[in-house]
């Protein structure tokens, strides 16, 4: 699973960068518009360790943001799963919060939380949590009638059991969504760093953009991509392991 993820990323990255080099060659563009392979290679050698550190910094925030958003989505999803007034209120509130574009909220966050860790974390969690919430609400509000019937008619169906049944029956869907949300968490953190932080790979990309240095951006994208592929692969492995362990009692 892990090696497949990494392999797939390499294919996508190489295709992308190959396309860029192809365009450069076909249109005879300068290194300023699209850097050549040597330029990218040299930039990679020069910047790899610094960018790797930045990516890991971003990654750490993304992981914490993702965990937070999973907890938030589970909390809201479980609370909002029933077609009650409260359930509907929770859903509407959650949707409304998400409706505000994060770039508009960023200055307020900047004032409240400064340009450090908390702002990055908050933005990452906000960007990551909504798709998770939709999936969790979708899963949690859909009864697994064939299993729940017995517990319901015998008066055993407590909310914890209901959540457990629905989570177990949709474990594959949940792990896929959680694994997919890793990308969003990382993208969210990078956006946060781009607009309201002084650290992380998003901040470095912003500087590279100021300097019109596409080589640096390509190197950053490579490290971000490889880190995300590994992380997603690990999440999928964890999901499969969890299902196996849970199913094995």
């Amino acid at each position: 699973m892990l090696h497949r993820r990494v392999f797939q990323f390499f294919i996508v990255y190489l295709l992308g960068i190959g396309l860029l080099f192809g365009i450069k060659l076909a249109l005879n563009l300068s290194d300023y518009v699209i850097p050549g392979p040597t330029g990218v290679w040299h930039t990679g050698q020069a910047e790899f360790s610094r960018y790797m550190g930045d990516v890991l910094d971003t990654f750490a925030v993304a992981v914490i943001g993702q965990v937070l958003s999973i907890l938030m989505a589970l909390g809201v999803g479980v609370a909002g799963r029933r077609a009650t007034w409260f359930g509907s209120f929770i859903k509407v509130a959650a949707y409304n919060v998400q409706a505000y574009p994060i770039v508009a909220i960023a200055p307020i966050l900047f004032i409240l939380l400064g340009d450090g860790f908390l702002t990055r974390l908050f933005i990452a969690a906000m960007i990551c949590y909504f798709p998770l919430l939709l999936s969790v609400i979708g899963i949690m509000s859909e009864p697994v009638v064939d299993i729940e019937h017995f517990y319901r008619v015998t008066g055993r169906l407590r909310w914890q059991l209901e959540v457990k049944i629905r989570a177990f029956e949709n474990l594959h869907k949940l792990t896929t969504v959680i694994s997919g949300s890793a990308t969003l968490a990382m993208a969210g953190t990078i956006v946060a760093e781009f607009i309201a932080a002084n650290a992380g790979i998003g901040y470095s990309i912003r500087i590279a953009l100021y300097q019109s240095d596409l080589s640096k951006i390509l190197v950053a994208l490579f490290i971000i991509g490889i880190t995300l592929s590994l992380y997603q692969g690990i999440l999928e492995l964890l999901g499969a392991g969890l299902k196996k362990a849970w199913a094995a009692g």
């Binding site: 249109l27 300023y32 607009i195």
Partner: protein, 334 residues
């Protein structure tokens, strides 16, 4: 009989008109050249001459149909020249020098700002910055990777100061750290943001002053008009006509008598700035576009370009000389 003849006659006239109009529009001598002109930033007082030239027919007079396109952080005129998305553009000197260092073929046609509007604002009542050394121990805002960072480093280097002797703070578009006095010296475009910030602080009873790098020997060139070498070589007349029209537009826009007309032209695009503020922005802009009446608008200050290149080499922003002087087209007569 008459009725019968009327239909073929009308048809013949329509055909004649259609054919005639298509012949007229196909005549290259009569058709206007379509030109895309990419600005460096959004349209405001800093682009007054560009929009004035467009709105008052300066380009049309030269037979050109110019689309003045607003710039932005993600826009890069030099790239667009090479990709053919624009034929002319506005780029900062460091952008041009970086592009040259990476093999781009770009030519500088005119230097719009004789004084770089990128300066630092501070509260005049708190301290005064008469020398570079006065920055020591203070919190100075810079945009890491941006022009201001390069300029500040160059300033410090001129007096042999170490970066650690000042507290450099990373800034972006949000001014809160300056308002809260966390960053006391803040980089601004003197003629646009500078006016707005002065007003804001004045409302709170605070006076401001500006720290201008050019007064301390660092003349880092700002916005200039550029085109591709290919355009220059293959269509020199087109380049000449465009430059003439543009600089004539700037000339007219900077004439105090045209101020109201300029404000109307800019206000079409910049709806958030009040007329009063824009007037003051234009006054500041005038002093930067033509600080000396003897120096024509668009004059390329080769010494400043050379200095800009040297600064970038010293700071390792380019690996070696690019001979930017060879890419400056010295001319002008609006």
């Amino acid at each position: 009989m008459k009725t019968r003849l009327a239909f073929p006659r009308i048809t013949a006239w329509i055909l004649l008109c259609v054919v005639g109009s298509s012949l007229i529009s196909a005549d290259p001598a009569l058709a206007k050249e379509k030109i895309a002109y990419r600005l460096k930033w959004l349209i405001n007082a800093s682009t007054a001459g560009d929009v004035f030239a467009l709105d008052h027919g300066f380009f049309s007079e030269q037979g050109m149909d110019v689309a003045v396109k607003a710039g932005g952080p993600e826009r890069d005129a030099v790239r667009e020249l090479e990709l053919g998305y624009a034929q002319f553009g506005v780029a900062s000197a460091d952008q041009v020098i970086r592009a040259l260092a990476k093999g781009a073929s770009v030519v500088v046609l005119a230097q719009l700002f004789q004084v770089n509007p990128l300066q630092w604002i501070y509260r005049a009542d708190d301290f005064s910055l008469t020398r570079i050394q006065d920055l020591a121990g203070r919190t100075v805002g810079i945009t890491y990777g941006g022009n201001d960072a390069t300029i500040m480093r160059a300033l410090l280097a001129t007096v042999g100061m170490d970066e650690h002797q000042v507290r450099l703070a990373s800034v972006r578009y949000d001014y809160t750290p300056f308002f809260q006095n966390q960053v006391t010296i803040w980089p601004v475009y003197r003629n646009t943001q500078g006016i707005f910030l002065s007003d804001k602080l004045a409302a709170g009873g605070e006076r401001v002053a500006f720290f201008d790098p050019s007064e301390h020997g660092v003349r880092f060139v700002a916005n200039s008009v550029v085109t591709s070498t290919q355009m220059m070589d293959h269509h020199p007349q087109r380049v000449g006509r465009f430059t003439r029209a543009l600089l004539a537009g700037w000339q007219a826009a900077m004439a105090p008598a045209n101020e109201s007309a300029v404000i109307r032209a800019v206000a079409k695009y910049d709806r958030d700035t009040s007329e009063a503020v824009m007037r003051r922005q234009l006054t500041a802009t005038r002093q930067m576009i033509q600080p000396d009446p003897d120096i024509p608008i668009g004059h390329i200050d080769a010494t400043a370009w050379q200095q800009t290149e040297q600064i970038m080499i010293r700071q390792g922003l380019i690996s070696g000389p690019v001979n930017v002087i060879g890419r400056l087209r010295r001319h002008h007569a609006p």
